[in-house]
């Protein structure tokens, strides 16, 4: 037997805006739509309704209600919220039909045959309700064997409603005729006849009703009886891990951004986990004041669904590289990755734990600088001291020493960055002494010159003569250092010490 579960989220524009702002849920909030000055109230929550707010109010009328917070309708936020809602519903059934309107979101789930997975319909409804509440939605749920009965009851009632098979007509009988959304003329006709509920409509003789109002009355009669047919049209949107939020006023406070980021990460983690995925990358796209754009990428070493870990990375990333201006809109997009499973070895050498290492690296970058932490990589050039830093990651296979000479200890250099300019005394084409700004050093032995040049065709070309010198300071301290003469400018520099 076919069974349907209908999720109806009334006032969806307001729910979508309040989903990521739980602190506002208890406050009276109304959503305005349209261009100023012709804005009209299109959605509101229960506290706002209690204050006297109503649909269709102008901004002036709404602002006259004390304590009512007005928000602007945002289709992007509603779209993101709808995706989240759809993801949550898809965990209970793969066949979902979208019946949403402009101010509400309605999803019909074909739950036929799900008893063995989720238990009886009432248990499924409870789990569905709990899942939606966790995501910040408030939905009414109706389960019935009749598609339209579930739809009408979900829109007309609150909470969970279960309609036993065969009890559709009695259950629908108490509902007002407005539940069918009849055209105004026909609604007036029924009102003139004294028909106000679906039960009264169902009691009318079908043939005479069709003779007076036409074939469309057949559908209304069947709807009132709970026997209207429906051809199910399931939809399957593309799986996209993305959250969006637009602030009412630009936000420059990092804590506020992180509070919102935490909610977004929670949602993304839940959606990825539902499909047995992890988050491999988080891409934070921020639209700033005056049209500027800021982009941050968080790429953990291994895909993760640890929300605290991801939030910590986000915090460190934003602390190290804060946006240059207040943030107006935020889009957090995630790339799904496979959950990592690492086989640990009993005799494998100790290495840093990947997730902990990510946090440590982020903290180190916050201390020393973004581009000053990593693994050195030598560049393929003869230019002395050429290297760049690559992101540090624990490689699985160690590099084997190429030959026996690598087993020997070689003399190391300690570079001066930047090199220190010195004045050098040269006799018989050999340096005999050098002096910096304050001290003079006598050179006891000078070995060289080692001439090196390259890239003469470019601006960054070099033409150097290197001297290894043993120097004696006035204090008696002996030094072995590397002096370099730029043969183009004839300038001498203390490049490094041997140590």
């Amino acid at each position: 037997m076919t069974l349907y579960a209908c999720l109806h989220l009334a006032e969806f524009p307001a729910q979508a805006l309040l989903r990521l702002q739980p602190t506002l849920r208890a406050q009276p909030v109304a959503v305005m739509e349209g261009r100023a000055p012709l804005e009209a109230l299109c959605s509101l929550n229960r506290p706002a309704r209690r204050l006297g707010a109503a649909l269709g109010m102008t901004r002036l009328e709404a602002e006259s209600i004390p304590g009512l917070k007005l928000l602007a309708r945002n289709p992007q936020i509603e779209s993101a919220a709808h995706n989240v809602l759809f993801e949550a519903a898809a965990r209970f059934s793969p066949r979902i039909e979208n019946l949403g309107t402009t101010t509400s979101s309605t999803l019909m789930l074909d739950i036929t045959g799900t008893e063995r997975l989720f238990g009886p319909p009432d248990a499924l409804a409870q789990r569905l309700s709990k899942a939606l509440t966790t995501l910040g939605f408030r939905a009414s749920i109706a389960i019935s064997a009749s598609f339209h009965t579930a739809r009408i009851l979900a829109a007309a009632t609150r909470g969970i409603t279960l309609i036993p098979t065969g009890q559709e007509a009695p259950t629908l009988a108490q509902l007002p005729l407005a539940a069918l959304n009849l055209p105004a003329d026909d609604a007036q006709t029924f009102a003139n006849w004294g028909i106000h509920t679906l039960g009264e409509l169902a009691a009318l003789p079908q043939d005479e009703l069709i003779a007076r109002l036409g074939q469309r009355a057949l559908l209304w009669h069947q709807l009132a009886l709970g026997t209207a047919p429906h051809s199910f049209q399931p939809v399957e949107p593309a799986f996209q891990l993305q959250e969006f939020f637009e602030f009412e006023t630009p936000v420059a406070d990092l804590d506020s951004l992180l509070f919102l980021g935490a909610r977004m990460i929670d949602s993304l983690v839940a959606r990825a986990s539902a499909r047995a995925f992890s988050l491999a990358r988080l891409i934070l796209h921020m639209e700033l004041e005056k049209g500027a754009v800021c982009r941050r990428v968080i790429a953990p070493a291994i895909p993760s669904i640890d929300r605290k870990f991801l939030l910590k990375l986000l915090q460190l990333q934003l602390a190290a590289n804060p946006p240059s201006a207040a943030v107006q809109r935020i889009t957090l997009r995630a790339e799904a990755g496979q959950s990592s499973k690492v086989q640990l070895g009993l005799f494998a050498p100790q290495t840093p734990e990947p997730s902990r290492l990510d946090v440590t690296l982020a903290r180190l970058k916050a201390i020393a600088g973004e581009d000053r932490v990593g693994s050195p990589v030598l560049e393929d050039t003869h230019r002395p001291g050429s290297f760049h830093l690559a992101p540090f990651a624990v490689s699985a296979t160690p590099q084997k020493p190429s030959n026996a000479s690598s087993r020997r200890t070689h003399l190391a250099l300690r570079r001066m960055r930047p090199p220190i300019p010195v004045r050098v005394t040269v006799q018989a084409e050999k340096p005999t002494a050098f002096r910096d700004r304050q001290h003079t050093y006598a050179i006891s032995a000078a070995y060289g010159p080692w001439k090196t040049s390259g890239a003469w065709w470019a601006a960054e070309g070099w033409d150097l003569a290197e001297w290894d010198v043993l120097a004696q300071a006035t204090s008696g301290e002996s030094l072995a250092c590397l002096l370099v003469e730029d043969r183009q400018t004839r300038a001498w520099h203390l490049e490094a010490f041997y140590d």
């Binding site: 290495t351 693994s375 001290h439 032995a445």
Partner: protein
């Protein structure tokens, strides 16, 4: 039971109230060490540098501290372990590291200090001005602390070789004590390179280094190629020594490091004092 054993037990029982286990050797903990890659220094240090402890390698410029540290890291990275170099003075030369056999992919380099803000040193071979050294030192200490707490690093080199000793001496003892505890917990060898010894009682080993002589190729009057430098290393303090050192001249060794361009296969001169 033999007569000697029975006699020993009898004596121990009779002296038990005054000397517990008088004739039984006391249990001794054998501490793990890791080879430096320089045999004569391994011999001097009874196996190498201690694991899970602080080792200080002190000395002036050109005393072989960096070559020794790189040689140690080379052995550790070749064993598929991960190391870090916290560079307070931004002085590490990656080419030297690669020449010594360090697997650069397994080396995390933290370059402290900002080049634009770094003032010129007042004198070659002397530390940075104290005003900048403080901030660089602070960065280096924080970085070393984070790496030790993260765990998983077989060796961490805290390079304070370019830092003014007057500034480094002001590092609180509590910091060194915390480093010692963290290194012990993480089984990390923490090497501190400096112009002086700073960690005091928290250091398990202090090795004093000094330059000895240079060797060059060719005849005396026409020597144009520097081939190696010889260094002197003296063991100043070793907490985990297997046998207590008698009070006399501390043990020392000389060792040498060849230049990268020296391809001669003859072993460098090394001797134990």
């Amino acid at each position: 039971m033999g007569t000697a054993a029975a006699l020993r037990i009898t004596l121990e029982r009779s002296l038990q109230h005054r000397f517990p286990a008088a004739l039984t050797p006391s249990a001794r903990t054998i501490y793990e060490t890791a080879s430096t890659g320089i045999p004569v220094l391994d011999s001097l240090l009874d196996g190498g540098l201690p694991v899970g402890a602080i080792s200080e390698i002190s000395g002036q410029e050109s005393s072989g501290r960096t070559s020794l540290a790189l040689s140690f890291l080379a052995r550790r990275t070749q064993d598929a372990q991960v190391c870090a170099w916290v560079d307070a003075g931004d002085a590490l030369d990656p080419e030297s590291a690669a020449a010594n056999g360090v697997d650069l992919r397994r080396l995390l380099w933290v370059r402290c200090g900002t080049p634009a803000a770094k003032p010129q040193p007042s004198k070659p071979g002397t530390p940075m001005a104290a005003t900048s050294a403080l901030s660089q030192l602070d960065q280096a200490l924080r970085s070393a602390d984070l790496l030790l707490q993260a765990g998983g690093f077989a060796a961490i080199v805290l390079d304070l070789g370019s830092i003014d000793p007057a500034s480094a001496m002001r590092i609180p003892l509590a910091t060194w004590f915390r480093f010692r505890q963290a290194a012990d917990h993480a089984r990390t060898s923490l090497l501190v390179l400096g112009r002086d010894s700073y960690a005091q009682s928290s250091a398990a080993l202090v090795l004093d280094c000094a330059p000895l002589r240079a060797r060059a190729a060719g005849k005396a009057a026409h020597q144009t190629v520097l081939t190696s430098l010889e260094f002197h290393a003296e063991r100043g303090r070793q907490r985990f020594a297997p046998a207590p050192t008698p009070i006399r001249k501390p043990p020392a060794s000389t060792w040498s490091a060849n230049c990268t361009w020296d391809i001669s296969t003859a072993p460098a001169t090394e001797k134990r004092a």
